[in-house]
Symmetry: C2
Subunit: 334 residues, 2 copies
């Protein structure tokens, strides 16, 4: 069995990140990570008719960049995993349509980048394919319209609200290569602490992140200081604080190693994004830009990436349901 402890899976054949691509929008380019995105799109519609089509285009570009960096053609990708926030995951089905790659659509809300990477890695690790792909995206305009208000309405944002990142990330995983290796993963459970405020996704996701990180450390018998970085996807300011507190209660202190893509991608104060960035594209574009670039440069060597998802549905919320969270973790090393 390729398992360690109760919840953690070991990649015994250590598949490698062979290529990665990160694309982001204008607002993201005004934040501190600008130089790490491989492509920046200043037009919210990318020349398309709709924001939904534009989001799909972000994915196509990220996939193209990842393929180029991996120096392989789409034909050699034997399986793709991906998803997004839009109903029926349309950004992904329409982006993958053009690539002629066998595809399994994923839904993990904002945890989708890591969820897809975990599966892309397991398929290579298990010898089910030589090269696989993981991709995700989000777009501020398409997400706001679907989950909250039409942009034209000019709705006020609460202090706990997060700003959906316009961006995409894609990763090619291969059997061999010099890139960062996939070492372990921990797949999370649905954790529901009864949060019903759809403008406080960080609070809905933090308990799931706590549960998954705790399971991983216990299963691998490691401690936070064994890692250069313990990254979360898009907990933002409020969710990150909550995560540190929840882990403290379990006698786990990750405050020195922790950072959050949602807090890194924007200059939170100057850019008026309230609690920080969110969306599948947040972890997607930060992981496939800043993080993997720094791993390839040797500045980061041994990291944990825990992407969190708020399984939030406007319909269920209107029906009085709380928003469950989920968090999946991948351990990367170079």
């Amino acid at each position: 069995m390729n398992r360690i402890g109760r919840y953690t899976i070991a990649y015994n054949n250590q598949p490698a990140v062979a290529g990665f691509g990160s694309v982001a929008g204008k607002k993201e380019s005004e934040g501190p990570l600008k130089e790490y995105f491989h492509k920046i799109e200043y037009d919210t519609k990318l020349g398309c008719d709709t924001w939904e089509q534009a989001e799909s285009m972000l994915q196509k570009e990220a996939i193209q960049i990842a393929l180029e960096k991996a120096q392989i053609s789409g034909e050699l990708i034997q399986l793709a995993f991906g998803g997004d926030l839009l109903n029926q995951c349309i950004s992904t089905s329409y982006s993958i349509r053009g690539f002629n790659i066998p595809f399994l659509g994923q839904y993990g809300a904002c945890s989708t980048m890591v969820q897809s990477l975990i599966l892309a890695g397991l398929m290579v690790d298990g010898g089910y394919c030589r090269n696989s792909l993981a991709v995700t995206s989000s777009h501020f305009c398409s997400a706001e319209r679907q989950f909250r208000f039409p942009l034209e309405y000019g709705g006020q944002r609460t202090p706990a609200a997060q700003w959906t990142v316009t961006g995409s990330g894609a990763i090619v995983v291969s059997q061999y290569g010099n890139g960062p290796k996939l070492k372990h993963c921990t797949i999370g459970k649905v954790v529901d602490m009864g949060v019903t405020d759809i403008n406080n996704m960080g609070a809905a996701m933090a308990p799931a992140a706590c549960d998954t990180i705790k399971s991983f450390l216990k299963d691998t018998k490691t401690k936070p200081s064994d890692y250069d970085l313990i990254l979360t996807g898009d907990l933002g300011k409020i969710g990150s604080q909550l995560l540190l507190e929840l882990l403290q209660k379990e006698n786990i202190d990750i405050s020195r190693q922790h950072n959050d893509c949602g807090m890194m991608i924007y200059d939170i104060e100057k850019q008026d994004v309230h609690a920080g960035g969110s969306g599948c594209g947040c972890c997607g574009s930060v992981l496939c830009g800043y993080i993997l670039e720094n791993m390839c440069k040797g500045k980061l060597k041994n990291i944990l990436v825990t992407a969190t998802g708020a399984l939030m549905s406007p319909t269920a919320n209107q029906q009085g349901e709380s928003t469950p969270g989920i968090a999946h973790l991948i351990h990367l090393e170079i």
Copy 2:
């Protein structure tokens, strides 16, 4: 490599179906497969406040039956794959919430039963878990409201329209066991032939089914007559006819082996369901009822199940996009 040909994966360790559960609604119980559902729910709300919660309840019941038949507790399931048609896959995240099982949400529209089973099987085959779970559902009332019209509106149905099955299917896959074995799978690509009629899902899905079945037969160097049954998920009357014609053009004749869950679950003429049944719960409840029961009895020995999904989004459709299809195939033998 555990691959055969270009698109097909072999389950070299042949994981087994250890348990399965099928739950259906009142209309489904009035069709020819009544005796094969393990549980029938006559109240569309199952005592819940909303149809969405009722759909989640169908899944919980199917999972419970599958666990009982497999004679294991939820605690021993190390990974669950599942999804449904509702936005943000809420039926599944709310059903899995109560089981405390690591979970990866799937979105493949009506192909979700086979998509989830493929992955649940690969995880056991690769030694990543001992027992895994695949689950899906659909509900006529929640699906109509989301994809077409509120039921109260009493919208007319076109002749090509299909009736969303109220039902759920769940399968426990284990390393060992006497149940049907997972032999091969073929994961499909997104195939788009430009269908824009959201009331003709069969036509949108048939080309994908053709592509996947053709790939499987080529990769495995087998012919239709090698199988007792070549089952499709929910092509219905129109899509099934189209599939036979498309395969004929490729010199593949499956007319003697083919059947479709969407045509089997209802008495199409008497029950006024136009082109037949559809929805994730269609393939889910037929596979986990009639089909697997007949495999266990030895009446079916060697079958292919190709579940098809129309990746249909009301938003994309209103924006003039066509509806792509996808189809995933699993080969089961006992």
